[in-house]
Subunit: 158 residues, 2 copies
DNA sequence: TTGATATCATTTGCATACGAATGAATTTGA
DNA sequence: TCAAATTCATTCGTATGCAAATGATATCAA
């Protein structure tokens, strides 16, 4: 008698429970987005410890300009993954510090050309070796093989 | 004769070149920090497409409160990797929207306790399934096996 | 050619993110 | 016990980051 004493309500409850074990075990700490944010924070912190007077976006702008030479503000932004509003602020601050200079495009009057100053060129050339150390330190928790795999997968995600 | 015609200058030049092929081949696009930033940007964009009325940090705060219940503002911050100044802004905005309520700690008068409101609880429980989809879509460029490896390595980095 | 579109840059508003300084309350240690 | 150190929260200043609106200039298409 007792062994078969399972009501319809019991069964329904069981089903509901196994159908959605969802809300109970959502672990924020294991979600990509959350960990990506933390990993990025850690990198920024390592960067700041090595290069105190420049932010990563500012460094990116200088490094890219060093790479490609004169470009328009918007184009530079697309090269370093910054929208127009953001890149403007970054360039303004670099200009205020004399690392970059602006000029108007002769033909297309909408464009604002950006270029490194001599000081900006010196700065970026001096900083690139340090940037290599920053990359290295950021990846330090991984073995060489792990780092290679990680970079490949990260590039797929980005 | 011709085969051994290598001057001291030639050798020095060769050495210099192999000692620092550095500044010439620094590729911003291949640095961890740069790609991490882009991957994070992509995730935030995916998040916004699924959950328009909440930011990832706001979601994190609600999810963590749902997980651990009432906590102090600072403690919540450390649980979701936000410093005191940042967490205050996030909590202020959640409070203004009625998703969270604040109260003073009876014993330790320095602490400000944060708790979900009924509305906040409803919201986070409704959003968690969507957050799973966001995680899934963020990892979509990777196979299941790649995603598992990536998450393991990313966790090591963060 | 000219009217519709598109592009480049700027501005505004909002939301992280964090260092540094400050004040209040608590804990520690001599 | 009481002064020093620590912790919690707030505020200020600076720097991304992005959506949306705007104005100027270019390009395209009918």
């Amino acid at each position: 008698m007792g062994r078969t004493a399972v009501s319809a309500e019991d069964i329904k409850l069981k089903l509901v429970e196994t159908e959605e074990p969802d809300e109970n075990d959502y672990r924020l700490q294991e979600q990509v987005g959350f960990i990506l944010r933390k990993a990025h924070q850690r990198h920024v912190s390592i960067f700041a410890a090595h290069i105190a007077d420049l932010t990563p976006p500012q460094f990116a702008a200088l490094a890219k300009l060093h790479d490609v030479g004169e470009t328009s503000q918007n184009q530079l932004g697309s090269l370093i993954a910054m929208d127009a509003a953001t890149v403007k602020g970054v360039i303004d601050r670099l200009k205020a510090r004399g690392l970059v200079e602006l000029s108007k495009h002769e033909v297309d009057k909408r464009r604002l050309l950006v270029n490194l100053t001599a000081e900006g060129r010196d700065a970026i050339e001096r900083l690139i070796p340090i940037a290599r150390e920053i990359t290295e330190e950021t990846l330090a928790p991984l073995s060489a093989k792990e780092a290679a795999i990680f970079m490949k997968l990260l590039a797929k995600l980005a």
